[in-house]
């Protein structure tokens, strides 16, 4: 019985651990087979509460959207410095609108992902924050610029907290999000952000789906 096997078995409750390690010992399994068997069992034991396809889909969705908001954070910070430097009023207004949109989307991702996949809050948080953390490790710029990678993180974490506490202000949030996404920007920055606005509309869609699902769950329980 190797140390790694015993360490792996610590993921099981104490009584189960004793019986299962004993069975492995008695069966004389090879080290590799013992590890595979035990890993499969731990996976099966851990899986049932998290087995809903919707939960996994929500995490995948959050993981796909979060790189978009990381990219948008960086693009916004770069554009902001240019607009401020050029003294363009319209540009700054559009940047503020896009920043608000970004934060609303981040808030929505946080709320939606955690509301839908409440059992897997930690995994959801990892899925949302992983792209920014990954970029932070790759990026070696000045500290302040690197901080822009996490522009979306505060509203996302706040959103996750709202989702976890089930404090939904769905109408207010949804209307704000739709307005921000649908208001056309000033001509100075218009064309490039049309698709961006449309893609961020996925966040309210995700949000509505999660709320409907949570609402349905409570209605049935």
């Amino acid at each position: 019985m190797t140390r790694s096997l015993e360490a792996l078995a610590r993921l099981l409750p104490r009584e189960d651990r004793e019986a299962i390690l004993g069975d492995i010992c008695e069966s004389g399994l090879s080290n590799l087979n013992a590890h595979l068997d035990l890993s499969a069992l731990i996976w099966r034991r851990c899986l049932p509460p998290y087995a809903g396809v919707g939960d996994w889909a929500c995490i995948a969705f959050a993981a796909i959207i979060s790189p978009l908001v990381v990219g948008l954070s960086v693009a916004l910070s770069a554009q902001a410095s240019r607009e401020i430097h050029a003294g363009s009023f319209l540009g700054v207004v559009e940047l503020l609108r896009l920043s608000a949109l970004l934060w609303a989307a981040s808030l929505g991702i946080g709320i939606a992902a955690v509301s839908r996949a409440r059992n897997i809050t930690v995994l959801t948080a990892i899925a949302i924050l992983a792209p920014a953390i990954g970029c932070a490790f790759q990026y070696h710029g000045p500290g302040l610029q690197m901080g822009f990678l996490f522009l979306f993180a505060i509203p996302t974490i706040y959103g996750a907290w709202i989702g976890y506490r089930k404090r939904h202000y769905q109408r207010a949030w949804l209307i704000a999000m739709l307005l921000l996404a649908l208001i056309p920007g000033p001509p100075i920055l218009s064309h490039g952000y049309t698709m961006l606005n449309a893609s961020l509309l996925l966040a309210p869609a995700l949000y509505c789906w999660s709320i409907e699902s949570v609402g349905g769950y409570h209605a049935h329980s």
Binding site: E15, E18, A19, L21, G22, D23, D37, L38, L41, R45
Partner: protein, 105 residues
């Protein structure tokens, strides 16, 4: 209560092993019958049967061959015996006019 094929196998083997039914002995019997299953699969199946109230388990005494670890002893309940009997009857009735050996030749 409806059970599946693997659950039936576990109930049948646990019933035949009587006081010696536990994970490793069930696996050994399955291997002898040409049904190789992992220890994890057996324990998952036992968990499911216990949740359905078809078996009860208790921790036995530790033994030296298990490295001083206890066994999870399995006992089939009356509901478990009934579910296994129903499954067997269903299979027997459904197969009464079928000659699998001839068909699969």
């Amino acid at each position: 209560m409806a059970i599946g094929e693997f659950e039936y196998l576990l109930l049948a083997i646990a019933s035949s092993l009587q006081n010696e039914a536990y994970g490793a002995s069930i696996r050994r019997r399955l291997l002898e019958d040409g049904q190789a299953r992992s220890i994890g699969a057996i324990h998952t199946g036992l968990d499911r049967l216990e949740a359905k109230g078809l078996i009860v388990t208790r921790m036995g005494e530790p033994t030296a061959e298990r490295g001083g670890r206890a066994r999870r002893m399995v006992k089939v309940t009356v509901a478990g015996a009934r579910a296994a009997a129903d499954f067997y009857k269903m299979i027997s009735v459904a197969s009464r006019d079928v000659q699998w050996a001839e068909i699969s030749r």
